[in-house]
């Protein structure tokens, strides 16, 4: 595949929070039209990576290119122009609590287009229909369940038919049924819109079922990658630990600490 086939190109990406390195050199290529999962334990820098791709953070070193343009070198106006073609689903939906379901989904349309109100209504109802919540249009976000809120947020994220959709932990805190629904929606919407999806998650089983490619991140580096069928049978110790949900392995169960014997016998206090 040529460079043009990849919507997102990440090269040697580094990011430090103050003195603490979070990402230590990531290389990644996201092909157009695919659903790609980025997996790893909590706090491994997955969400940071997503924020770097969307331009919310600036990298310490390295570049993120979206459609050939370096995100970190863009002006504010150019970045906003790009973001109109990006959709992002936040971990808990991040719906506007003072707006109804309908107004939430209509929000990007009203802000970015001059369409007449009846056309906005039709478009909004179509997006809500796509996530199966056309009947819930008049509800307020506070009355929705977690799964429904996430679906409304998904409808809002795709309101402007984005070319790139990003998902931050879309499965967290959902019951198995809602989880399956969201997983299916992500797949369907991606294919229907001809978009590219990047999904940050630690839900292995659901991801293996629906994505095209998986990157594993640990301690700020890509440690493994591959298609779901390769991942399932992988001999790589990290992937094996993650997929089989083992407590200890390459990812240590213990937070780095001084030697236990030394600590308990008082040697460390001297």
């Amino acid at each position: 595949m040529s460079d043009d086939d990849f919507l997102v190109n990440i090269e040697n990406l580094r990011f430090d929070y103050g003195d603490r390195p979070v990402l230590r050199g990531i290389d990644m290529r996201i092909p157009r039209g695919r659903v790609v999962a980025i997996m790893g334990g909590s706090g491994c820098g997955k969400t940071t990576l997503l924020r770097l791709i969307s331009g919310q953070l600036r990298p310490t070193a390295g570049t993120v290119r979206v459609a050939g343009e370096a995100i970190s070198e863009m002006s504010h106006a150019r970045l906003y122009a790009f973001r109109r073609r990006m959709g992002m689903l936040f971990q808990f939906g991040a719906l506007f609590t003072d707006l109804s379901v309908f107004d939430n989904v209509a929000f990007p349309l009203r802000e970015h287009t001059d369409l007449p109100e009846d056309m906005i209504r039709d478009l909004t109802l179509m997006k809500l229909q796509a996530v199966g919540l056309r009947g819930a249009r008049d509800l307020m976000p506070s009355t929705l369940s977690g799964g429904m809120a996430r679906r409304v947020a998904l409808a809002r994220a795709i309101a402007l038919d984005p070319a790139l959709i990003m998902y931050d932990e879309p499965f967290t805190g959902l019951d198995p049924i809602s989880l399956g629904v969201i997983g299916q929606l992500i797949r369907q919407l991606n294919d229907a819109l001809g978009a590219t999806s990047i999904m940050v998650t630690h839900d292995v089983q659901e991801s293996l079922r629906m994505v095209d490619y998986i990157y594993f991140i640990s301690e700020g580096r890509v440690v493994a990658e591959g298609r779901p069928e390769d991942v399932r049978d992988s001999a790589d110790p990290f992937v094996h630990q993650f997929v089989a949900a083992k407590a200890d392995g390459p990812v240590s169960y213990h937070f780095p600490a001084p030697d236990m014997a030394a600590e308990f016998l008082g040697a460390a206090h001297v």
Binding site: S54, Q56, Y80, A81, R83, R84, M86, M88, F90, Q91, F92, A94, L95, F96, T97, D98, F107, P108, E111, H112, A153, R156
Partner: protein
């Protein structure tokens, strides 16, 4: 010795922190002003915030204004009639309300009613990632969320202060004329004779506009820069109320000393 050093260090840290916040608030103020175009042109946004800051504060402002007027009427009558000048009650009530009590007390009430609500709203939007989501939709949160709230407060404040003064004068009239028997004509005519529109009414309105800018800026600033946690938001709300009260009283002193200097 180390005690003294600790105290000095504490003092230095506090001063640096304050100066830093002041500088940041000034930059934020400029940003809000520069991004105010949409807020002022889209009436639906502005109306919602006038409703939120102004209409919802109406009840507390009207009731407090009435009571302050009643108390001024009682106390003023008691003092003035000792000198046989009870008919000056209208002048006293109107001048104290228009020049000081109206703008200041209305601003203090506004800070605790509307200012705290604005901080809470923006702080919670930040804590639940709504501001970030907006930014990701290529909608600037300062232009869409902060600026309308700021202007809603700035527009509401002088209206509330005028209503406060009006209710207070009516309260003073109620006590003085209806209950204590001050002559109705003398009450109004002595008031009209000594209250000057430009010096008293207009200066009071001007004061309340300044207070409106200060309180609204503090409220949106504290909300926007609050820590995105439940505890952080509650601390930001407290800071809004306390800082607003101090700033209102300090500004009032400065404005008064400029406005009423050398007036006879």
């Amino acid at each position: 010795m180390s005690r003294v050093l600790d105290m000095l260090r504490f003092l230095g840290g506090q001063v640096i922190d304050r100066v830093w916040r002041l500088g940041r608030a000034s930059c934020f103020f400029l940003a809000v002003l520069m991004k105010s175009g949409a807020a002022l042109l889209r009436f639906s946004l502005l109306f919602r915030e006038i409703w939120f800051a102004g209409v919802l504060s109406l009840l507390i402002i009207l009731v407090s204004g009435l009571f302050v007027g009643l108390v001024l009427g009682l106390q003023g009558y008691e003092i003035l009639q000792r000198y046989g000048s009870a008919q000056a009650l209208g002048t006293m009530v109107a001048l104290s309300l228009l020049r000081e009590l109206g703008p200041v007390v209305a601003a203090l009430l506004f800070a605790s009613r509307a200012g705290s609500a604005i901080t809470a709203e923006i702080g919670l939007m930040k804590a639940t990632e709504q501001l970030k989501a907006m930014d990701m939709m290529a909608v600037d949160p300062v232009a869409r969320v902060v600026a309308p709230r700021f202007w809603g407060g700035v527009i509401s404040m002088p209206i509330l202060a005028m209503l406060f003064s009006t209710m207070g004068i009516l309260g003073g009239w109620l006590i003085g004329v209806v209950f204590l028997g001050v002559d109705d004509g003398a009450f109004w005519s002595s008031m009209r004779a000594s209250v000057d529109f430009r010096h008293d009414v207009w200066n009071g309105v001007f004061k309340s506009v300044i207070f409106g800018v200060a309180v609204s800026l503090i409220a949106v600033f504290e909300g926007y820069y609050s820590e995105p946690t439940a505890e952080g938001v509650s601390r930001a709300i407290t800071r809004t109320v306390v800082t607003s009260a101090l700033v209102i009283l300090a500004l009032d002193f400065v404005l008064t000393s400029f406005m009423f200097k050398g007036m006879s």
